[in-house]
């Protein structure tokens, strides 16, 4: 009889981060090792439920012997590696990356970014008033989500979540090339003509607020969105027997959005349209 497989035990690798010896299990990334060593490396496109895409390059660190900087989020730790997280060279690239992003898209709803801009003394304005921007209007083509690509840093997380990493619906893709690349559905049509099944798993992973629940988008527009006043309570979805964990975000006794814990063994942070949006009946109070 087979027993539950735990896999082959992983070996520990020894290497250094900023001169201090660290140990990490084989297969761990530099970022994993940094975080367990208590070092903060900024990240944008990295997601705890997704394979690193290393597209944003804000997490770059210096590795002895490497010609270029390496992305901490995806580079696997190797024995004997000498990693430096805070060199002038790494900081320079992070600063420029932040400036390039902040000068081309709206980062106003990206958590933490304001602090990093300050920390790295980034001055996005120095590219001048004519610096090209993504310049997109929010796309409101349905009652559940809004796609505001003016805030999109093209981190690919939504594409990966919609694609083969989780949802396997493949409603969206990166379209076009270079600075003109955008996230779009087939034929760049409205979401309602696409393969989208409105699971909201793209919103769950969006790091910038480019994708948002219409409820949140409308409340922000009306100035009533008040995150500090919200409670988050995790419960179990009532729509089928699978038992997805839902985290209900409640403001003034109204459910304003629904997420799922990323480490949950049932959902891994994912939900379907019913779990994500089917809460309204509870608050049809009059």
């Amino acid at each position: 009889m087979t027993v539950t497989s735990l896999g082959i035990p992983r070996r520990l690798l020894e290497f250094t981060i900023d001169g201090e010896p660290v140990r990490a299990p084989e297969g761990a990334t530099i970022l994993d090792a940094c975080r367990s060593a208590g070092k903060d490396v900024p990240t944008l496109c990295q997601g705890d439920t997704l394979t690193p895409k290393n597209a944003c390059r804000v997490c770059v660190v210096e590795v002895e012997g490497a010609r270029t900087l390496v992305p901490a989020c995806s580079r696997k730790a190797e024995a004997g590696m000498e990693v430096r997280t805070d060199t002038e060279r790494a900081r320079h690239s992070r600063k420029i990356v932040l400036e390039l992003l902040a000068s081309s898209v709206d980062l106003s709803t990206t958590p933490e970014v304001a602090g990093w801009l300050k920390e790295y003394e980034a001055k996005p304005d120095r590219f001048g008033p004519d610096a090209a921007r993504v310049d997109e209007e929010p796309r409101v083509d349905n009652d559940l989500y809004v796609r505001d690509y003016d805030k999109c840093i093209l981190c690919y997380k939504c594409v990966d979540a919609c694609g083969d990493q989780w949802q396997n619906t493949f409603a969206i893709s990166v379209v076009g090339r270079g600075f003109d690349a955008r996230i779009a559905v087939e034929h760049d049509g409205p979401l309602t003509d696409s393969a989208c099944v409105y699971c909201g798993n793209c919103i769950e992973v969006c790091p910038t607020g480019a994708l948002s629940f219409k409820s949140e988008f409308d409340m922000r527009a009306a100035g009533t969105w008040n995150e500090p006043a919200q409670t988050e309570t995790t419960t179990v979805c009532a729509y089928c027997g699978v038992g997805c964990n839902l985290t209900l975000h409640v403001q003034d006794n109204e459910i304003v959005k629904v997420t799922s814990p990323h480490d949950n063994p049932v959902t891994h942070g994912n939900l379907c349209i019913k779990g994500r949006f089917g809460y309204q009946h509870v608050q049809n109070r009059d």
Binding site: L69, R89, L100, L154, G178
Partner: protein, 607 residues
């Protein structure tokens, strides 16, 4: 897969284009008429999903026949291949040669890149656009380098239909370009590839010796000129023997990175995962480069033989030749050569009766410089957007289809033939200790005899330019193409070796030597280079996607400025350039600032 399709249906033409490539659909689920059997049993799953790599050929099939890719055609192709339409749309919009909007059947690509710009491309463009306006049935598109630099300025006309027709006009005049676009069949024949080899016929040539000497269509003629002796030798010494010879010969990659070929093959051959693949990178897109085209047009069988040897060495049974989409004649010649080799048992199940099986599939690029990057090229073959992957893992471990892959440039591969015929020691004696063997140089611009030159490593830049007849008033030489660097006219003693150029603080790159006289304003050239990188950035990583835009903007601002007026922007350029070099995913972003930096530092541009 539960794919979603819209209401658009393919036209009969579009359907025929796809079916010609893929055969008729097998079931109603793939687009055939409904049958009772289909409604009881459907096959799918892994086999259906495994055909993704036919997406790019499918897009070509539609684009070739119709001239653009409609929603109905794309959906039909997706249904046939079990590919999500959104992903296919992302792929179709990645390539410059495809259009997802209606356009005339004929597209005239007019090269506006460095060599052609220096040869009057802007006047040509203006003239052609004036003649071929709306309603002319021709869409004029300004193109990056078409790899016809020895005959600059150049234009390529592609007329969709069955079959698709192409015509090259180079050197182009307005009249000739318009003729090529409006009547591709009656446009004059392209001159022989040999005309791109000023040394043609010189018996000492090792790589170009057959160009202009053999009939490129004739396998027998190839064999009469020494063809297939190297493969026989390879079988005699076995795969390990081939790798040893290549290693001892000191052969390094000619695509620009100069990685030792023997090491790459050894690592691929030793990789425990199977199958192994061989990929020949013929996506020659570096502005100013046209050597691979000349080899493929002039001596196509040499590449077939070389690929067979390489595959044998690394234990591959399937090879892919990723050929640049803008090279119709090379495509035609290679298709013919592969077909002939297959017919004669030189490709197939039992090559030379040795029990070794190998075959080559050609995959046509579709207008994306980035696909010259090896991992982007793999993605392109696999039917994904041609975006580079992060390394490690390296291709020798996880390459095409995630399997161990040896990827080599055309020039690198054809060097294997002399290595196996004259032996590693004799080959290694050519050139310098660190850069062995012969090297092809693509000389164009301000020279009397532009073309491909074969010289042993170690010749100086000056010697090469003399051979090509450099003209007076030389202002600058660009080595290595857009990703390379400029040198001054007083630096002509730089030895053309990897180590020599490195010591001189520049690069040999892919062997581009573009000479500019002082009639070409340097800031305009730099702007063109910056535009090139902006256009060709895949958009995946931030430093390159936005950095190339900021670089172009800054160069725009200072195009007419010098000194203190340009200083702030030059500082900005340096800072952005440094981050692009340090933090971009791939070589494109990492080198996008090289030429500009060298022009500022070496040539004193903007002083």
């Amino acid at each position: 897969m539960d794919l979603h399709f819209g209401d658009s249906k393919p036209t009969d033409e579009e359907r025929a284009a796809v079916d010609t490539l893929l055969g008729p659909p097998e079931s109603s689920w793939e687009g055939a008429d409904r049958s009772d059997a289909d409604l009881r049993w459907a096959r799918g799953g892994r086999a259906a999903r495994d055909r993704r790599d036919l997406l790019l050929p499918g897009l070509h099939a539609v684009n070739d026949r119709i001239g653009w890719i409609s929603e109905g055609a794309l959906d039909y192709l997706c249904r046939r291949l079990t590919v999500p339409p959104a992903e296919a749309y992302g792929v179709a919009t990645f390539y410059a040669m495809f259009s997802v909007k209606p356009r005339p059947a004929t597209v005239l690509h007019v090269c506006t890149d460095l060599a052609c710009a220096a040869a009057g491309a802007s006047e040509l463009c203006a003239g052609v656009e004036a003649r071929l306006g709306l309603g002319s049935g021709v869409s004029v598109e300004r193109s990056p380098c078409l790899g016809l630099c020895e005959r600059a300025p150049a234009a390529l006309a592609i007329t969709a239909g069955d079959p698709v027709r192409t015509a090259v006009s180079a050197p182009a005049t307005v009249e000739r370009a318009v003729l090529a676009a409006s009547a591709p069949d009656s446009a004059p024949e392209e001159p022989s590839a040999a005309l791109a080899v000023p040394q043609a016929g010189d018996p000492s040539l090792m790589l170009l010796g057959r160009v202009g000497v053999v009939d490129p269509a004739s396998l027998d003629d190839y064999r009469a000129h020494g063809g297939y002796t190297a493969l026989r030798q390879a079988f005699a010494i076995g795969p390990a023997g081939v790798i040893r010879e290549v290693t001892d010969a000191g052969l390094v990659g000619r695509g620009g990175a100069a990685f030792p070929t023997g090491r790459k093959w050894q690592a691929t051959a030793a990789a425990p995962d199977h199958p192994h693949y061989l990929v020949c990178n013929a996506d020659e897109s570096e502005p100013g480069t046209f050597k691979d085209r000349v080899v493929m047009e002039g001596d196509p069988y040499s590449l077939v033989e070389a690929m067979t040897i390489a595959a044998y060495a690394v234990g591959a049974h399937q090879g892919y030749l990723y050929l640049r989409g803008e090279y119709p004649r090379a495509l035609h010649r290679m298709e013919h050569a592969i077909g002939q080799a297959r017919a004669r048992g030189l490709l197939g199940d039992d090559i030379l009766g040795q029990g070794y099986a190998f075959d080559i599939e050609i995959r046509r690029g579709a207008g994306a410089y980035i696909c010259g990057e090896e991992t982007a090229l793999f993605n392109s073959i696999e039917g994904y957007r041609g975006e580079p992957r992060s390394k490690p893992p390296f291709p020798v471990e996880k390459g095409l289809f995630g399997k161990p892959t040896a990827e080599n440039n055309v020039e690198t591969l054809v060097n294997v033939l002399p290595i196996l015929t004259i032996g590693a020691p004799a080959y290694a004696a050519i050139g310098t200790a660190k850069s062995t063997g012969p090297k092809l140089f693509c000389v164009s611009g301000s020279v009397d005899r532009p073309g491909i030159y074969e010289l042993p490593f170690g010749a100086t830049l000056g010697e090469l330019l003399d051979l090509a007849g450099v003209r007076d008033r030389l202002r600058a030489v660009l080595l290595g193409g857009a990703a390379g660097g400029f040198v001054r006219p007083d630096e002509l003693d730089i030895p053309l070796t990897f180590e020599g150029t490195r010591e001189a603080g520049t690069t040999l790159g892919s062997g581009v030597v573009l000479a500019f006289d002082d009639t070409v304003p340097l800031p305009r050239l730099l702007l063109r280079i910056a535009e090139f990188f902006r256009d060709e950035s895949c958009g995946q990583c931030v430093p390159c996607r936005v950095g190339t835009v900021r670089q172009e903007e800054a160069l725009h601002r200072i195009v007419e400025r010098t000194g203190a007026d340009a200083a702030a922007d030059i500082t900005l350029l340096r800072e952005v350039g440094r981050a692009m070099k340090d933090a971009s995913i791939c070589g494109l972003g990492q080198t996008a600032w090289n030429a500009v930096e060298s022009a500022i530092d070496r040539l004193g541009a903007y002083e």
